[in-house]
Symmetry: C2
Subunit: 378 residues, 2 copies
C-alpha cells in the first residue's frame, strides 16, 4: 500500500506520470493549490473542480488550531468536512510553527510554540504531527521536519538536518504503527495514507545529497525537498534541488515544497520535479497581481482603468472569457470581495494550464520552447 | 416605448406578471439583488445567472463616484462593463446622498454633498441624476427624490414630498429630452430606458396618497414607493405601502424600495407589490446570518461547530447541497473569504426561491399558506 507512480514519458529529466492515491489520480508534474484552513482562499470547491485542480493542500498547523483535528475526524475527516472528494495533502505543521507562531523552544522531543491566534501553548512532536495528520486523513502526509532558517551556517545546517532525519525516523515509526487508524482505511479496502520524507540540508549541496541519501534509506514512497524559498537567491534554490534530485530515486515522485512563480514551476519540472505547491497564485491575487501569459499584471494600476482586454488575452478561464481588466481594476480599487475571487480563479487557471502545457510538452519530448517562453514572461 | 407589463394571474391583491425590458423579461413579483458598485458583493455573475436572478440593481451614487458614469459609458455602458446581459435598475443616487455622504446642503436646485470616499464636493440635481443614469444605461431608472428622514413631522414630510414632486417633474422633463442618448438606443430598435416616479410622504397615509396621485398625474410607466425601512415600525411600513397602493394604477408595476426580510417580502407581495430590492440577504450573509426555511441561522454560533446538516435542509442551492453548517461556521470564524461568498449565495437562493414560491402560489390563487409559513419562520 505505497503510493503507486507510473512514468509515461520523459523529456530529458522531466517526467510525465500519474500518482494514484486513495482519492484518485494525479497527473504529474502537478501543482497543488494551497487550502490553508480547508479552503483555497476565495474559491469554492466546485470552481476548483472546474479548474481541474487534482489535489489541494491543507496546513496541519492551521487545522490543528482551528477547527482542531479531533473535530475534523469526528466530522468524517478532512475530505468530508470540506466536501472535497479528490486527493489532498497535508504538510507536517513544521513550516508554519517556524514561520507563524511565537516559537518558544525546539528540543530533541519537538517544538513548543504559542498559537498565532490566541497565544496558547502547544507542543508538536513527530508523533503528534502524525497523530494529527492521520486524524485529518489526507491522502499524502509529510514527516515532521525542521525547516532550517536562512541564512544558516554549515554547522547549524548539519545539526538541523540531523534533527530532521531523527524526526523522520520517529514520524515513520509512529505512522507505521498507526496508519490503519485513518478513517477511510476500511472503506478503501485497507489502503492508507502515504507518508513522505523531506530532504533538508540548508544551502549546502553536499548536505542536501547526504540528507537525500539517508532519507531514502528509510524508504518512503516519495520524497519532498523542503527548506527552500526561504529567502535565498533562485540560483541557490535550483542548486539545492539539483543536488537532491541526483540522489532521490527516479521511480518515485519528487516534491519541491513551497515554490514558486510560473517560470520557477516550469524550470523545476524540467529538472525532474513531479509535485509543487505554493501560496503565490492565491496570495498575490488577493493583492491585485495577475500572473498571465504576458507577464505580471498589477490590476490596480491606473493604466488598466479603461482597458477592455481580458486579464490574459491568451487564457480561456471563466474570468478571462467574461471580464475586462477595467472591470477587475474597478472591483479591486473598490475593495469588492469579488476582486480577490476572480483574480484567484484566473491565477490558478494560469498555473494549472501551465502544468497541462508542461505535461503536453513532456509527451512531445521537448520542453525548450516552454522554458524560453516562461523565462521571457517574468 | 414604455415598460410593457402583463398580469397573468392574481390572488386577492397579489399579482403574477411579466415586465419586458430592453435586456429581457422579469417575472413578478421579483426581488432584485443589490450590486452597489456593479457587483453583487461576493457573487460572480455566472453564479447570479445560475441562481436565476433576473434583474440586479446598481447604485448611482457609488457608480458616479467610482469608476464614474463617463468611464462606464465610454466602456459600453453598465451591462457591458460588468458583463451582465440581463435587466438592470439604477436608483437615483438620492438615498445614498442622504445616508452615506457628508451632506452639505439641500436647495431647490438639488443636493450638494461630499464624497464618503475622498471628501470631494459634488452636486446632484434631478437633471444630473438623469444624465448619470442615462450614461450608465440601466433598463429601469429612478426619478431623483428626497428620501424624507425618520422621524419627520407632518409639515416637514409635506414640504419634502413637494420637493420630490417638483424634482420628479424635472427628472421627467430632462429624461424625455435626452432618453434617446442611451448607448443601446439604436441597437435596440429605438427602445429607451423606463423612468419610474417615486412616492414619498413620510409616515402620513394622506400624504402618501396625495404623493401617489400627483406622481401618477405625471404618467410614469411604473411607480416606486420610497422612504420606507428608514427606522419606522413594520406596521407603519405596511400602512404606508397600503396607502400608496390604493392610488397607484393596477396595470403598472409597483416597486417598494429597500425592503426587506423574507416575511416582509412575502407580505408586501401579497398586498400587490411587484418589485422589491434590499441589501439584507447580501449584507447579513457577510456578517454570518443565514436566512433559511427554519428561520435565522447565526452561523458563527458555537452550536453549529459540529452540525453536519446543510445550512437549510429544505434548500436545494449549490451551498446547501454541498456544505455543512460546521464547515460554514469554520470558514466564518476563520475569516475565510469563502464564508461571505457561500453565505451570500445561499441567502440569495432563499430569496429567489421565495419569489418563485410566491409566483407559484399566486398562480394557484392562494397565498395564505405561504404567508403563515413565512410569518412563523422569523
Amino acid at each position: 500500500m505505497k503510493l503507486p507512480f507510473s512514468i509515461d514519458a520523459q523529456a530529458d529529466s522531466a517526467r510525465l506520470g500519474q500518482i494514484l492515491t486513495p482519492h484518485g489520480q494525479i497527473d504529474t508534474p502537478t501543482f497543488m493549490p494551497v487550502g490553508t484552513v480547508g479552503s483555497v482562499k476565495a474559491v469554492p470547491q466546485d470552481v476548483l473542480e472546474e479548474l481541474d485542480a487534482q489535489i489541494i493542500l491543507g496546513n496541519t498547523y492551521h487545522l490543528y488550531l482551528r477547527p482542531g483535528h479531533d473535530l475534523v475526524r469526528k466530522l468524517g475527516g478532512l475530505h468530508k468536512f470540506i466536501s472535497w472528494n479528490r486527493p489532498m495533502l497535508t504538510d507536517s505543521g513544521g513550516f508554519q510553527v517556524f514561520s507563524l507562531s511565537k516559537l518558544s523552544k525546539v528540543t530533541e522531543d519537538g517544538v513548543t510554540f504559542r498559537s498565532h491566534l490566541d497565544g496558547s501553548s502547544h507542543l508538536f512532536t513527530p508523533e503528534r504531527s502524525m497523530e494529527i495528520q492521520i486524524a485529518l486523513g489526507a491522502d499524502i502526509i509529510m514527516a515532521f521536519d525542521e525547516c532550517t532558517e536562512f541564512p544558516a551556517d554549515r554547522s547549524r545546517s548539519r545539526s538541523s538536518m540531523e534533527m530532521t532525519l531523527r524526526w523522520a525516523r520517529r514520524s515513520k515509526d509512529y505512522f507505521e504503527a498507526h496508519k490503519s487508524e485513518v478513517l477511510w482505511h476500511e472503506e478503501s479496502g485497507g489502503r492508507h495514507q502515504a507518508l513522505l520524507g523531506i530532504v533538508q540540508g540548508g544551502m549546502y549541496p553536499d548536505l542536501r545529497r547526504e540528507s537525500a541519501e539517508r532519507t531514502v534509506e528509510m524508504d518512503f514512497p516519495a520524497y519532498a525537498i523542503g527548506g527552500l524559498s526561504v529567502g535565498e537567491p533562485r540560483e541557490k534554490t535550483m542548486e539545492m534541488i539539483a543536488a537532491a534530485l541526483e540522489i532521490l530515486p527516479k521511480d518515485k515522485p519528487r516534491y519541491v515544497m513551497g515554490v514558486g512563480y510560473p517560470d520557477e514551476i516550469v524550470k523545476y519540472a524540467s529538472m525532474g520535479v513531479d509535485m509543487m505547491d505554493c501560496v503565490i497564485p492565491t496570495r498575490v491575487a488577493r493583492h491585485g497581481l495577475l500572473l498571465t501569459s504576458e507577464g505580471r499584471v498589477n490590476i490596480k494600476n491606473a493604466r488598466y482603468a479603461q482597458d477592455q482586454l481580458p486579464p490574459d488575452p491568451k487564457c480561456g478561464c471563466k474570468v478571462c472569457s467574461r471580464y475586462t481588466r477595467a472591470y477587475l481594476r474597478h472591483l479591486f480599487v473598490s475593495g469588492e470581495p469579488l476582486a480577490g475571487m476572480l483574480n484567484t480563479v484566473h491565477n490558478l487557471a494560469f498555473y494549472l494550464d501551465t502544468m497541462r502545457s508542461l505535461r503536453h510538452a513532456i509527451r512531445l519530448g521537448d520542453l525548450s520552447g516552454l522554458l524560453t517562453g516562461y523565462l521571457s514572461m517574468t
